[in-house]
């Protein structure tokens, strides 16, 4: 058996399960908890009841949509790892429009306006990083990470300062008007449908259009792109813009479909989970749904374990390890050569 055939997404899954089990055994030993109880709490959080399953599906949407967006940038060779910040900016745009729109519009038009604003703001934010990379050769990885932290601080500032709910001590904005909330059934809001529609759209954009083809050429090899008269700068910036825009839509979806206001920590590391989901799906739009469901189960499980007094930082460890585990196929590619 060659090393190549040993390393499939299932190997990755296996590694993750082994690591999670290891952490659970460790916790149960130190805290003297029953191992079975830890596992059942972990799984109950996503599969215990219809409500919980609905919540897990919502989390899946919030991981999957940015992952789809980031796929476009990654296909074009731009490493947009700042999904988190673009989600935050999208949420800011959505809250801003829904709370402070100076004129009256029918609610359906306002919702469309919210999503367009979120798309433009998130996309513009990512496009800055793309422009800096193409114009001056600044590493977009570092810039997008920094941008995320700045955007998150902006959310904190707005929630604790200018936009803060007048009454109450929690750092959050007032609720958005009820007619702007997306309709929801059994805890599943309409944003779930938007997310599902997004999969074939992104898949078609990447694989079936000229633009997608050109982006893939740039991502595959810039040296080929130049003699084919492709405008590399434009393509990279455009791919960053679209990917950031889709992340921004996620922010608007969180505000209008899940918590109906902006509060500290609303992005919930979805942007970082999305990168892990993207790596696990091997940058293929059609597989993101599986990887993001897996990560959503982990996300919900870690939240559920908090009730047993197990720190929620477990999620951070798992993101970090998923990153490293998911990038391991690069070793496989080298072995193949």
């Amino acid at each position: 058996m060659s090393p190549k055939s040993l390393y499939t997404p299932f190997t990755e899954l296996l590694i993750l399960i082994v690591i999670i089990t290891f952490f659970f055994i460790f916790t149960s030993q130190v805290r003297e908890l029953d191992l079975g109880k830890i596992f059942s709490t972990f799984l109950n959080a996503s599969f215990g009841s219809v409500d919980n399953f609905g919540r897990a599906l919502m989390k899946m949407t919030f991981i999957m949509v940015p992952a789809l967006g980031l796929t476009i940038a990654f296909k074009c060779g731009a490493w947009n790892v700042g999904g988190e910040g673009q989600i935050a900016l999208g949420a800011i745009a959505a809250t801003g429009v829904s709370l402070f729109l100076p004129f009256n519009l029918p609610s359906i038009l306002t919702i469309i306006l919210i999503f367009i604003t979120a798309f433009v703001l998130g996309g513009g934010y990512a496009a800055i990083a793309g422009y800096m990379r193409e114009k001056w050769g600044v590493t977009e990885i570092v810039v997008t990470v920094m941008q995320s932290i700045i955007a998150l601080a902006l959310v904190n500032y707005l929630c604790s300062g200018p936009w803060k709910e007048p009454a109450g001590y929690i750092k959050r904005t007032p609720a958005i008007p009820a007619d702007l909330a997306l309709p929801s059934v059994l805890g599943l809001s309409a944003f779930f449908i938007i997310g599902l529609i997004m999969i074939p759209l992104v898949h078609m954009l990447i694989n079936k259009t000229t633009l997608g083809y050109e982006m893939r050429v740039v991502g595959y090899n810039k040296k080929i792109a130049v003699p084919h008269k492709l405008n590399v700068t434009k393509l990279v910036i455009l791919s960053m813009f679209i990917s950031g825009g889709i992340c921004g839509i996620t922010g608007a979806g969180i505000v209008t479909g899940e918590i109906y206001r902006m509060q500290v920590g609303l992005t919930g590391n979805f942007g970082f989970y999305a990168i892990a989901a993207l790596f696990m799906a091997r940058e293929k739009a059609k597989y993101t749904i599986f990887s993001s469901f897996l990560l959503a189960v982990i996300y919900q499980g870690v939240l559920g374990l908090a009730t047993l007094g197990i720190p929620r930082m477990l999620g951070d460890i798992l993101i970090g390890i998923t990153f490293i585990v998911a990038i391991l196929p690069e070793i496989r590619l080298r072995l193949k050569r």
């Binding site: 790892v81 570092v142 920094m146 720190p311 460890i317 390890i321 690069e330 070793i331």
Partner: protein, 293 residues
């Protein structure tokens, strides 16, 4: 009045090892041509392991410092294994380390909860503790190594032009591995210093931003040993002044803005260094794997 000013200066300077050691670790790592984005994670892990070993492995402050240096070096070993031996993307692996380190420190602290109060102090000299002088001494040592020894030249060569170094008989990957491990150890010691001497305890948010501030300092200090030292003194002063003003209630801008400053600094620094080109001292082969073809 003069006494008060002196006490302010001393209290500000006593934070120097925090940024100084972290920046020194980054300098050693990056000079050899390896990115280490996971500074914050490694620093927090160092802080946790210091508190942990102080609580459970005999209450010795020096041993805790060494232990956290060891844990940090372990992270360095892992980074070297993944990025230098197996040539994975240094930025992505470092990013993973940032998350994994932060999470691991917070998780393990929550699980084991080492709560023995740290009462021991480092020996003091002229009202600054010994680690401060150690940091300055380390800077001088690094300066001499980089400028006057063969080994220092080898490190710089690995960062600037690994191919030439290989032709001259330097084992590029070995040099890079050593530098990564040493650097990670120093970063962990910076975290340990905060836990043992400055904060006397562990908090999940204690490192927030300092690792990235170290990055900004490195870029603004143009990768020269004393430039970096000067920059870290300036940044330390700014942080100290900010804390003072915050305590006195004289802060003229929101806290969130102050928190964000180092991150804006990193972007601006990278931007300036890219525009100014050669003068910035960023090693030419930073982040580029060396493969012997």
């Amino acid at each position: 009045m003069i006494d008060y000013l002196l006490s302010v200066i001393v209290s500000i300077l006593s934070f120097t090892p925090l940024l100084g050691l972290a920046v020194l670790g980054l300098l050693v790592t990056q000079k050899s041509g390896v990115w280490n984005i996971g500074v914050e994670g490694i620093m927090l892990m160092g802080a946790f392991s210091a508190v942990f070993s102080y609580s459970f492995m005999g209450q010795n402050i020096w041993f805790s410092m060494l232990f956290s240096c060891l844990i940090g070096s372990l992270f360095g070993v892992m980074l070297a294994f993944l990025c230098i031996k197996h040539k994975l993307n240094q930025l992505i692996v470092g990013f993973g380390f940032w998350f994994a380190g932060n999470g691991l420190a917070g998780f393990l602290y929550g699980i084991t909860s080492p709560k023995v109060p740290i009462e021991e102090h480092f020996p003091e000299f002229l009202s600054l503790d010994i680690i401060f002088y150690l940091t300055i001494a380390l800077f001088i040592v690094v300066f001499f190594v980089f400028n006057y020894t063969k080994q220092g030249l080898a490190v710089i060569c690995c960062g600037e032009n690994p191919k030439a170094g290989d032709c001259a008989g330097i084992n590029v990957n070995k040099v890079r591995t050593i530098c990564t491990i040493l650097g990670a150890g120093l970063m962990a010691m910076a975290g340990a210093y905060v836990a043992l001497a400055a904060l006397r305890g562990f908090d999940y948010q204690m490192i927030l931003g300092y690792g990235w501030m170290a990055f900004a300092i490195l870029i603004f200090g143009r990768f020269s040993t004393f430039g970096v030292l000067g920059c870290s003194l300036i940044f330390t002063t700014l942080v100290g002044l900010q804390n003072r003003l915050q305590i006195l209630g004289l802060l003229f801008m929101p806290v969130e803005f102050m928190v964000v400053l180092p991150h804006i600094g990193v972007i601006v620094g990278l931007f300036l260094s890219a525009v100014l080109g050669k003068k910035t001292g960023i090693p030419a082969a930073l982040g580029i794997h060396y493969d012997r073809e």
